[in-house]
């Protein structure tokens, strides 16, 4: 028995040495091209992003943009690492503690106030002389997502918003028009809900969650809001008659079994939409690629978010590109300039990323892109409150709305209580 064990241990050791050898060889492979040209000292810039590893965006980044940047800026190498969205956020938080931040990062605009509070972002308008000229080439709307207080802490990189997607086949079959007002949407959703010929439940509307990103378009289009313009007060806003009306519409839809998607056991949004279980969704440009990938034969149409008293106001999302303190500022700025320049922006547009560069927006690529329907909505979209306590505010908001919908809580009362909680949080920021 002793011999057998020894034999097995030997096998293990051989296997592991082989693996180490293979690994070493592989590393050589990936490293050539980095260490070869020693003519000029190479500075490596770390760039963290959350382009999903298999996405076209990442392909373009790796195969087109980075090589071009390195060609135009010899002396710099970009080490781009992809993380999943939520993981990237967590990584920034944990890396701050020990100064292990990258030089440049692609940051969700919602993270900016938080990161600014952590004091890890470089205020560009203060420290970079070229800031004025570069930023003037970018959409003001988007640029404002990088402004906190009086300073700009990043450049916008891409923008997006959400618009309405509807199931074309179902609408045609039932002879229904795409709703253009909230009232119409309410009726259409209710009408289309019920059981389909196979006996499966159909919902008129799907919202995958009940946080700000999901409910704000409704609230804003109804003419309501959750805070005032200075983001310091919630009372009188989150519990205003208009906001109450918006939430009540959602409540009515939920009670009529016309709205779902935010429960843990629900069919995921894309799958539900693509298989005809959800009739309408409100989502961003990424949905186009997803549907094409998984449900290529599915027919749908898009339109602006239905309008209410406040017009048709969607929520502005997007990503910024920011410079982290303690990194190589010159290199980071060079890369940021490149990524917000018209070439990179147009290339990324091919992957469905909506540019913020004004010149790129005029290009044919963009005009013919599948996300053309979003361009108009972007100009009218609003940003979520750029405050450091946003995630807690969002959490409270989500809890309140969930209670109203699933526990049938009184809308006005719950929102009144929410207003008090939010006032405290907003004062804290």
């Amino acid at each position: 028995m002793k011999n057998q064990i020894l034999k097995k241990i030997l096998i293990l050791i051989i296997l592991s040495s082989l693996s180490i050898l293979l690994y070493a060889c592989n590393s050589e492979e990936t490293l050539t091209g980095r260490e070869d040209n020693k003519e000029s000292p190479q500075i490596t810039l770390d760039f963290w992003h959350h382009y999903s590893a298999q996405s076209p965006e990442n392909e373009i980044l790796t195969n087109v943009l980075i090589p071009k940047f390195e060609e135009e800026n010899k002396g710099y190498k970009i080490n781009a690492v992809s993380h999943e969205w939520a993981d990237l956020h967590d990584k920034f938080i944990i890396s701050t503690n020990s100064g292990m931040l990258p030089d440049v990062g692609r940051l969700d605009i919602a993270w900016l106030p938080e990161f600014e509070k952590m004091d890890i972002l470089v205020p560009l308008d203060k420290e970079i002389s070229e800031f004025e000229s570069v930023s003037s080439e970018l959409l003001e709307n988007a640029l404002n997502t990088a402004k906190i207080g009086d300073h700009y802490y990043a450049l916008p990189l891409n923008t997006n918003t959400k618009i309405l997607f509807v199931n074309k086949t179902a609408f045609n079959d039932n002879d229904i028009q795409i709703p253009s007002t909230m009232q119409e949407m309410l009726e259409v959703a209710k009408e289309l809900s019920g059981k389909n010929p196979d006996g499966k439940q159909i919902w008129g509307l799907c919202e995958p969650a009940l946080s700000g990103w999901n409910v704000l378009p409704y609230i804003w289009s109804f003419g309501g809001d959750i805070t005032d313009e200075t983001y310091t007060k919630a009372s009188g806003y989150v519990n205003s008659p208009e906001t109450v009306e918006a939430i009540n519409m959602l409540k009515e839809l939920y009670k009529a079994d016309a709205l779902t998607g935010f429960n843990s056991g629900d069919i995921p949004m894309t799958d539900g939409f693509g298989t005809g279980r959800y009739m309408m969704i409100i989502d961003g440009p990424w949905k186009i690629a997803e549907l094409k990938g998984s449900y290529p034969d599915f027919q749908y149409e898009t339109a602006d978010v239905p309008s209410g008293k406040g017009g048709s106001v969607s929520v502005l999302g997007g990503e910024n590109i920011g410079m982290l303190k303690g990194g190589n500022q010159e290199g980071a700025w060079a890369f940021m300039k490149f990524m917000t320049g018209s070439f990179a922006q147009e290339e990324m547009a091919k992957a469905g990323q909506i540019p913020v560069n004004k010149a790129a927006l005029q290009s044919n690529t963009v005009k013919n892109a599948p996300f053309a329907p979003f361009l108009d909505a972007i100009t009218k979209a609003k940003i979520r409150p750029p405050i450091a306590t946003w995630s807690e505010v969002d959490n409270e908001l989500s809890i309140a709305i969930t209670k109203i919908l699933t526990e049938d809580a009184d809308t006005q009362k719950t929102l009144d209580e929410l207003a008090i909680k939010l006032d405290a949080l907003l004062a804290d920021k």
Binding site: I93, I94, K200, Q201
Partner: protein, 296 residues
Amino acid sequence: METKAMKNRIQIFLLLLPGILMFSVFTIYPIVKLFVMSFFSWDLSSMHRQEFIGFQNYAAVLSDEVFLISLVNTLLYTMITVPAQMALGLLVAVLIHSLPRYQISFRVIHYLPVITPWVIASLVFKYIFNTEGMLNYFLYELLHLTNRNIAWLDSRWSGMFVIETLGIWKGVGWNMVIFLAALQGVPEELYEVADLDGCGGIRKFFYVTLPSIKNTILFAMVMLTIGGFNVFTSIKLITDGKPLHQTQTVLTWMYYKAFRNGEFGYTAALSFIVVVALIFLATLQFRIMKNRNEED
């Protein structure tokens, strides 16, 4: 003058050294640091300067409604999954132990859930228990046992039920292995004596087997309790604390507070409160088993 004893002492020291070093640096130090930090105000805005605030963090944790919910969930999870997986594991072990053939195949098959990564297992369970998933398909469509699709994952208790089922499913194999080992250590003579006394199978089990593996049972209980408190991935992937944070457990809540809100002082305090709870539970289990030991 190097005596033999001296040489031996040095050797013992050398043997202990790597372990102690590794352990102190990589385990003890982070624990101590965390403990110290739990008394400081430590969050996003105080990344570089932290203030000493005494027990404030602990007070914040204990008065947090969601923390209490998470503690209840965790305790219930532990109290349900631990006995269940132990009982099932013991059952399977006893059955396999009594077989003349196919022992290995059954062992391997039952151990498969243990080596399935939590991520995969959670995803599969999520699919099975989805409101339009496998289980409902069987219950509602095929067998007509229920009158509608049950929303397993949408509320606190049924959500926790699913996660507990996953925990039990995943743990049975581990218990089986531990108990198989223990069963092999029970001396044959004890069974023969029981036979002579005219004991049937079931009586033999209760009067010979169980007492003989008492220490194993205690060991499994303590290890599984610690494991129960560590439940994390399954919650995160299946319900993510929803609805309304009703399905949070102590670790998922800690993670949420740390990385969503950056409240590190709070989470440090939370960690140690959990440690205290576990020490209490472990001691309790020891006492109970020791008492039983003495009774024999």
